[in-house]
Symmetry: C2
Subunit: 244 residues, 2 copies
Amino acid sequence: MISKNQLKLLRALGQKKQRKAHGLFLVQGEKNVLELAESNLTVQHIFATADFIAHNHNTLSRFECIEASLDDLTKASTLVSNNAAIAVVEIPTLTAPTAQGLMIALDGVQDPGNLGTIIRVADWYGIQHIVASTDCADPYNPKTISATMGSFGRVQVHQLDLPNYLEQSNLPVYGAFLEGVSVHKTEFAAEGILLMGSESHGVRAEAAKYVTDKITIPAFGGAESLNVAMATGIILDNIRRQNS
Amino acid sequence: MISKNQLKLLRALGQKKQRKAHGLFLVQGEKNVLELAESNLTVQHIFATADFIAHNHNTLSRFECIEASLDDLTKASTLVSNNAAIAVVEIPTLTAPTAQGLMIALDGVQDPGNLGTIIRVADWYGIQHIVASTDCADPYNPKTISATMGSFGRVQVHQLDLPNYLEQSNLPVYGAFLEGVSVHKTEFAAEGILLMGSESHGVRAEAAKYVTDKITIPAFGGAESLNVAMATGIILDNIRRQNS
């Protein structure tokens, strides 16, 4: 059963301020909760249906599981869809990664769904670190976590002073612009930072000045732009096809 | 002003059954309404703020515009965000396209947002025709239209008997599967049909039997799958880089 106080906490963790104050975030839904077991994240406890706990006994054995009805879980969830499981997880303390390998940098990407989709496609292409400007969406927003489809456990998102980070890195910085060189014609280094701006403002001047290569996805039709997550995926594919 | 009857119609057009009965659909939001003016679609009338009408006088001159307050438009809208304009548009009568050029076929893609994103990326890559199984999301669902970011005016979506269509086509059918040949190593013909299944079920057997080439996006990390719209975009990029 979910106690009154527990329910209060679950509700609170829908808000960024409360997540920060408690140092906790929510992982909701069957797939995402099962992915938790494979991650290095520290789980406080998991609320789940008796069915879900029974079916995943081995995977969940090292966690404190609290049985709850699907009704109560749905009421407690910050997401619309039904939830067989909700986990309360500690926000990890991350140190900014050394710039190496292939990385993604995000400048002002404010939609949590887009951030989650970028985490998922980053994971597909084997990228472990995303550096994000402090005004990007919160990586621990329930909508972000949900959109990652479990990839939140394998990709670390570091919110930091982005221009400062780019300045100190020695890697090439591939910045996505509408007027860059076609990614079909760019020679990508094996190590580098792919810098993506927001859909509305693009890469801002403070970050743009560290770009070593302006790149673009060639257009063949009438659409004016692509969604930032879509563009990230397409460019990553172009980089990995050269360096795999 | 939006009359009571007009408001009733706008609300009704949020539902598929009512769209079908009236032969009408909604185009909402500034960008999408302005894209209408460039399309061949037949517009019944446009509800818009005085500001929006004044600013876009030339573009909108051939349409019947009805002035309304932002408040009334927001109340009338089926979308959450504010709306400076809502257009009532006739659903066009389409004839199934001859299989030629590069096309997309969708098998059971049921999320309207995904369908809209696929329409947008199809437009980016210069594709004019999408054929979709009858159980795909409605191309005239307000969420679909909104996600196309204006591309609904340049890409036609034909709902039809998909296996039957694929059977009669003489083009290669590139089917996306988790266990196909890497798109980085596939030689694509200039003309062909890219067949995408739903995220949950993939391409179903009835359509799969017409696939001439099973293809896949190579994975480099831990994610198990990609969103269907993302996968469509990445594969289209791989096809167009060979045939541009």
